[in-house]
Structure formats: C-alpha cells, structure tokens
Amino acid sequence: MNSESLYQFSTPTVILLLLAFYGGTYLLTLGIRKKHEDADAFMVSNHRVGFGIGAASMTATWIWAASFYAAATSGYTYGVSGPIHYGLWGALMILFIYPFGRRFRKLAPNAHTLGELIHARHGSSSQLILALSNVLGSVISLMVNFTAAGALVSVLSPLSFQAGVIIAGVGVLLYTLWSGFRASVLTDFAQLVALMAIAVVIIPAVFFAMGGPTELVAGLDNLTPEQADFFSMDAILNQGAPFFVAVLAYAIGNQTISQRLFAVNEEHIKPTFLTATVGYGAIVIGLGMIGLMALTLGVEPMNGDMNNLIPQMVSGYLPPLFIALFFILVIGSLSSTADSDLSALSAIMMADVYGKNIARGQADPKRMLLVGRLTMILATMVGIVFASFSLDILVMLVFVGALWGAIVFPVIASCFWRRVTNQAFTTSVLVAMVLFCAARFELLPLSGASGLFFELLASIGGGVIIGLMVFGFLGRTAGFVAGALALVAMLLFATGFLRDYTVLLASLTAYGASTLVCVVMSLLSRQPDFDFATIRERVGDYEATHDASPAEEDDALPAATRLAGQR
C-alpha cells in the first residue's frame, strides 16, 4: 500500500459533507426547539430521559475522536492486546460508575451537576474545586475534538487545518446553543446511529480488503514477541494500567457523565450504563483493530503521525464512498462529545457558578439561560483557539484523568461517609494535585527515599481503586477486604519497580494522597456527623422555585424544592 498519499476530497465535496452533517443535525434540533426554553431542561432535560436515548447519548458522549485514533495507535504499538487495553478499560469504567451514580441520584434526585450535590454536602470551596476540574476537562476535550476535526479535514481535502477547526466549532455551537442538553441528547442518538452503522461496515470492509484473517495471521511474523502476546506486560503496564486508572477518574470527574446520570429516568440508570459499556467497547476496540491490521501489514504511519493510521488504511484499501463514511464517522464522534462538553460547561456555569455562588438562591432562570448560552459561545471560541496547539492526545488523556483522580475518593467518600469535612475534601485534593505533579514531572527524584515514598502512596492508590470498585458492587466489607488485599499486593510487587512507570506512578499517587489526607483529616475532625437527608432538601429545580410567588410557593412545592430555592 502506498502510505505516502491519502485519498483527497475536492473542496466542494468536503464542504458538502460537512454541510450535510451539521445542516442535518441543526434541522433535527428545530423539532424540539421552544421559544422560551426551560432553564432546568436546558441542563438535564426532564430528569426522565428514556433508556434508548439515554444509552445512545452515554455511548456517543463517551466516544470521542481520540477513541478511534488512540485505540488504533494502541493496536499498532502494542499489537494483539493493544485495542483491548484501550477500549475494554474505558468501557468497564462506564459500568463501574453506575453504582455510585445511583447513590448520587438518590441523594439529589433533582440535581443538575455533581457540583450542586457537593455544594449541599460541603459548601462552595469543595464544589468549586470539582467545577474547576470539570471545566478544565471539558475545555481540553473541546480542544482535542476540534483539533481532530482540523486534522481530518486537512489530511483528506485541500482545506486547511484551521478551516476544519472553525467549521466543526461553529457547526456544533449552532445546533447546541438554543436548546442545550436537550439538543445534545437528541442529536447524540442520530450521531450514534450513523457512527455505529458506519463502524459495522468499515471494520469488516478494511479487514477483508487487506486479505482477511489469512493475511492477518501471516503478518503476525512482523510483530515482536511482546506485540504477539495477548498477555503482554508491556501493553498492560504502559497502556492498560495507566488508562484504567485515568478513566475511573474520568467517569467521576466528568460533568458530561453526571449530567446524564441526573437526566436519565432513575429506574433506567443500570440498563443505560450497561448498554453504553458494551456499545463503547465494541466500537472502540473494533476500530482499534485497524491499527493491529496496519501493524501486521507493516504499514508505516504517514509523516510518523499515528493519527494518520486509520485514514491511511481506509484510504489505501477502500473506495471513496467508504472514505466519505469514515469522514462522517469521525465528525459524528467528535461532534457528539463536543456538544456534550458545551452542555456540561453551560450547566456548570449556570448551576455551580451563577446559581449557587452568585445568585445564591435568587437565581433568575432567564439569566441562567443567558449565562449558559454565553458560556457555550465563549467555550467554543476558547476551544478553537486552543486547538491551534497540536498536543499528543494520549498523554493529555492520562494527564487530565490523573488530575481528576485526586477528586475521586473525596467525592465518593463525601456521599457515603458522614464524617468527611469540607476542609478534608479541599486539602486532600490540593495535596494530591501537588504530589501528582511532583511525580509526573519528576520534580522530585524518583529514586531512593522519595521514590519509595511515591511508591507507598501509589500502593495506597491502587488499593483505593480496587476497593472502590468492589465497594460499588458488593458493599463496604467486600470493598475494604479487596482494597486491603490490593494494597498488600502492591506493596509486595510494586516497591522498587513502579518508579520506572512514571505515568502510572503519578496517577496512583493522586488517588493515594487524596485518600490518605481525606481520611486522616476526617477522623481527626470534631465536627458533628453530616445528615445526608439534607442534600435532597438543598438541591432542586430552578424554574419551579422562581415561577411560584413566595405565598404560593409554600403551598405548591415540596419542601425539597422550597429549600433549594432558599439556598
């Protein structure tokens, strides 16, 4: 295969494709548009989104442009097990998050963001830390997705990188701006159907065009022993484990996920997340197989850029129609995530910043909508500008995930353990962030006593991750036992060894440090235990509270909503 050139669409063709995609999506949203949108629905629809739309939206949101490129890169780099070490862990994290999601929903059934729940539990400082981490993640996600659009347009057409970035940014903003989250979930369904249908066709098409299973098996000779081993330790330690650690944090710290947790009909949370788990895993691992195919064929990524692998394979083996389908596949995946990020950012600014910290219980729904829409416009502009810096997607993924790792334990503990205090939450996150940076950027030497110090923290972090996962499904006792066993195993096997895997060490350090500080400070605190029932009373809808006059309010609204308005 000629790896030096990719099929090129003409400028009118690529513009027509983009126009058809974004124009069609925009027309779809006209069907649900209201002259006067509801501020609560703008953030979480009606809290009763059905299983089908919910599962489609979860899957489409979780799959972003990086999913394809990074899965293929993983397949190409680590061989047979590579696609699994990218896709399976990402998929399982959707599954592992739902027990905690059900708890969040039980505590605050009418919340719009996880930050509102934390605000009711602890107050502003903890809430704003969570909101800040959410904003950071969503802006980076926007940037990555717009970058992917620019890269795709520039490699498959004469249009420039900048043109692709701007078209994607403006296209996503146009269809999301008016109806917010409602537009996001509706278009997610349409985008996912297109994305899945194309994936179902493209993966076998490339596979058989390259020669099918016979050619793949013959090409296994091109692989190193590590790449040919399904249980490759190289793949586990360099790809699987850091990603596994990072994605747990993604699921907890990502407002796009919590937004859907609060939007889906409470009874459908479990099937929604189970379906999204299988859907995400199947698509991402399947497309990652294209990277493995490229490796067995001895294809070199064009210009040394791994992101060119899938376009190269599709361009080299399939006719132009399939290349157009691939183009739509990537544009669909990046747009569905970008619109979710815009909705997430607007909800954070509306509820966490304006609702809880500026208006302080006097939130005007119309002003909230204005805040939300202005946030979307600003975030799109920031995303487009930042997209100019082409950064390594995989490294960024791990970095942001690890930052969120510092928040995982304090957030979960705050929802189950009455003793956690605001001070413990805030301090533990800040300490963990500092120690994460020290390990990740090797600000302290990772040898001798300091190396051992980080390995001890990382071992605690490993125990915490396993403990939390088991706790989510099997309860407290099983969680403690599993966590303790994992800690002992880590202390035995990781000491003197983990320091060689900086990414993994740093990510685990974030979990370990935040857990240690949070637990010690909470145990030392003399504050009275928290009453979880008060969260439900403090978090409610904004429209209902604002519409009713004070006199009517007392009669017409449940206590929960009234108290939410007062805060």
Binding site: N46, F51, G52, A55, M196, P213, T214, V217, A282
Partner: protein, 42 residues
C-alpha cells in the same frame, strides 16, 4: 489460528450491530411512551 483471529476482529462489529438494534428499538419504545403520556421525548 486463522478462524480465531477472524473471530477476534469481527466480533466487535457484530456486537456493535447488536447494540445498535437494541438502542433503536428502545428509542422507538421511548417515543411511544412519551406520546402516550403526552410529553416530549427529551
């Protein structure tokens, strides 16, 4: 070996198709329910 690798690659698009059908059927059901209860889908 050839069959095993063929299965390893093709199982993922097959699973994707299964989930696609499941989601489409569920959305149609959601739509019917929403109409019956005279509320919007989203």
């Amino acid at each position: 070996m050839t069959t095993l690798f063929g299965f390893y690659v093709l199982i993922w698009p097959a699973l994707t198709l299964g989930v696609l059908i499941l989601i489409c059927r569920a959305v149609l059901r959601d739509r019917r329910e929403a109409r019956r209860e005279k509320r919007e889908l989203v």
